[in-house]
Symmetry: C2
Subunit: 472 residues, 2 copies
């Protein structure tokens, strides 16, 4: 019995005594200190020894029995499980040797100026959202499995359809719409279904890293096409087994170019001729401050070659993780099968809440409010840049959440970006989005930040640039 004298319970420890006892007995079995078939002390004897209640020992033994460490019919006659001989040796060492020390848990963080593509969540009325949520939760069927709705709740698909028709001229039946886990999941699904190792996909250069990741996952060849002042440049380079062309026509990521109508029509002609699927990521199209937007590619397309992708992450809040995709009719069945395999169906309470939020008009007024405030913030930023005479040019303004700034003097933008980051300002280097394109500049997101934060950010920008550009 002397093995059991090693047991020692720490009454000052947060971990309950019963759990401490379980842990120690397990460790002794795993390390081979207790041998298979070895008899354990009676619950009464051990309880006395350890000065704990007998219930504590009984519960510990039962737990260990349920996990197969102990065997026993009556409580007084527990023995070490015979099958535990398999892990008597070695196990402890191996587990420890094969594992790194776990990292400490991380905290949620707020975006710092001028992190791109961050909506101002303080403009969003969580209270109103919760009111809609309470209303839809009267229907507890939302809590059940609803596998027929792997493409999203029908009511939400209808309301998204109405919104897209009215705001972007999208023409589709509601059952051609898929609700996705953010637009990233939409891009992932496109990659899975339309690309494979050996096929090619066209990307704007510079371009959106999230899309790039989705295409890379498939093993497809990425073919870069430069971006000029009308959008992705045409003709597209020739490529083996080209299947997809990915574009951000409303507000090119990251440059902000809006694809011209002529270029749009030409792209659709090429897509038809070469049987390419056009992925139209309509990122940022909701935020136009002066001029009217061009019609969406999808609304111009006679031949249904366009897959239209969008998200509520930036118009509502990113933590929601709801996006959508409008599919050509031929592809609907394929996407439905993939979606069901990918996750059965998505979170239904959020989907129903969003459907109500759209239908009530709350979404439209929220969007109008954001548009007004985002426009003011962009203007303030530009005014300050210009007042300070900073050597950065902003050729494209008046829309979007971000502004691409180009250095007037040749400089290493990655170095500037790193220097800013060290000072608490996020502004990714334009070159970090480039494949073959040569650009030097920074991307600034303005939407999530107050006037004071924008002013403070500009101060840091001015002093950091002054220091760094001088030293080059």
């Amino acid at each position: 019995m002397q093995n059991f004298e090693r047991l020692e319970l720490d009454r000052g420890h947060r971990r309950p005594l019963q759990q401490q006892l379980i842990d120690q007995l397990k460790a002794m079995i795993q390390q081979g200190t207790l041998r298979p078939a070895e008899k354990l002390p009676s619950t009464r004897a051990l309880a006395d020894d350890l000065r704990v209640s007998r219930n504590t020992v009984v519960a510990a033994y039962e737990q260990l029995e349920s996990e197969g460490y102990l065997q026993g019919q009556a409580r007084s006659a527990f023995t070490v499980g015979v099958a535990t001989r398999a892990f008597a040796r070695e196990r402890q060492e191996r587990i420890t040797a094969g594992q790194k020390i776990a990292t400490p848990p991380r905290r949620l963080i707020a975006p710092r100026p001028f992190r791109p593509a961050q909506p101002d969540i303080h403009l969003f009325s969580l209270k109103m959202w919760n009111r809609h949520r309470t209303r839809v939760l009267r229907d507890t069927l939302l809590l059940q499995y609803q596998s027929r709705f792997s493409m999203g709740l029908d009511t939400l698909r209808q309301n998204v359809g109405t919104y897209l028709r009215e705001s972007r001229g999208i023409r589709c039946h509601w059952d051609e719409i898929v609700i996705t886990g953010g637009s990233q999941q939409a891009l992932f699904m496109v990659g899975q279904l339309l690309l494979h190792a050996g096929s090619s996909v066209y990307m704007e250069d510079p371009g959106f890293p999230g899309a790039l990741r989705a295409w890379q996952q498939t093993g497809a060849t990425i073919v870069s096409a430069p971006v000029d002042e009308e959008g992705i440049s045409l003709p597209l380079p020739m490529a083996e087994c080209a299947r997809v062309v990915y574009v951000t026509p409303s507000h090119q990521f990251p440059l902000g170019v809006c694809m011209s109508l002529a270029r749009r029509l030409e792209l659709l002609r090429v897509a038809r001729e070469r049987e390419l699927w056009v992925v139209e990521d309509d990122y940022d199209s909701e935020f136009r401050y002066n001029s009217a937007p061009q019609p969406s590619l999808q609304s111009l397309d006679e031949h249904r070659r366009v897959i239209y992708v969008g998200s509520f992450s930036k118009t509502l809040f990113p933590g929601l993780r709801l996006g959508y995709m409008v599919l050509p009719p031929h592809l609907v069945e394929h996407f439905a099968r993939l979606k069901a395999t990918l996750e059965d169906h998505g979170p239904l309470i959020d989907q129903a809440t969003l459907a109500g939020f759209l239908e009530s008009g709350a979404f439209d007024s929220h969007l109008r409010r954001c548009r007004r405030i985002y426009r003011e913030r962009q203007q303030l930023f530009l005014d300050l840049i210009s007042a300070r005479g900073l050597p950065i040019g902003f050729p494209i303004t008046g829309r979007g959440m971000n502004l691409a700034g180009h250095f007037a003097i040749a400089t290493d933008d990655a170095r500037q970006s790193a220097a800013l980051e060290a000072e608490g300002v996020d502004a990714p280097a334009l070159s970090s989005y480039c494949s073959r394109a040569k650009l030097s500049g920074l991307l600034f997101g303005l939407t999530a930040f107050t006037d004071a934060e924008i002013r403070a950010g500009i101060e840091v920008l001015a002093s950091t640039l002054a220091r760094n550009m001088l030293s080059e």
Copy 2:
């Protein structure tokens, strides 16, 4: 101008007049009734004609301009956009011809007796859940992008780790846990990372259709292994490039067999020898009514070949769509990259709420309550079956959400299942889960149904079987 005389607004219609005007002008442009560069009436003239306010016409023109249908500098001089010649002809016909009539939207449905694997959502306290949700929402950072948490919120991963360690003896660091969109997404990810066309995966026969779909998506060869009274039978058949063996050891789906400890240890030995990854889908392990469960495969595994998969869909509610996976250390980085590509991060508010719910102990008491009630329902069902002397045998009871019933007399189970469905009772045929195995029986889910529903379901079962088995 006579084209414009065709315009007709319906004041009784729900659709706003302005939108009606937009729709009709668009249709005329698309159909070629209005030609590119054709001049439109002034806003004042058209407003007079249609007897609407001038603002209505102005807004309609501006919307059409924003979509590229019209061009105009001053409001009085709008013309049809030149680029619209591309869709002047054909478009309308093509769109219509290429599309089916949209299906009407579908309603949410409640599960009917005896649909398998449905938790009773009425046992769940939505009120308490919402209390936790309100508490976590004090931290509005949950609404922001938090891309560092694509594997799930760290607090949730830690609390899931504690729960799994205490309930199933799972041994892992919290950062080896991924939070997924239900267990289906976990299975999908396993398939994407570990299987490909040319590789093989072992499946229990009969087996879980959701897993089968995930493997099929990869193009891998599915190799069936029979299930006996100790679980998946060994040795596994030889197969080219075998990578994965998928098992449901706690409560085999659909038969309910619990894999013996000896078989568990043998499976782990084989996995190590042949370098297979073992996917342990611990489906249903939470519901044991009499005997203690076997230790999980993961807890027995010395060599970290096990990927442990579970879900909160059945212990909380399916509409939540949260599951988890415990990964071997070597695979963590690969899964992290895939998860970020698949959907950036998951819905954070639900994750934080669940973390609080687990930590408070509310989860444990909910589970205890469900266990007690589900056990009673299973017993009632068995008592009624036995009292009616129905020709169905239930060899495995005392655990799980479902019971597999085997016909005592040879009969076509698919036919019986279809006859029951027509009478409002869901009980899938066991043969529908089989690949090569020969079984005849039905799968009954008992957890979501009241005593009255169970009684009524048994009546239908008795009369349907009597009618159908007689007529065979």
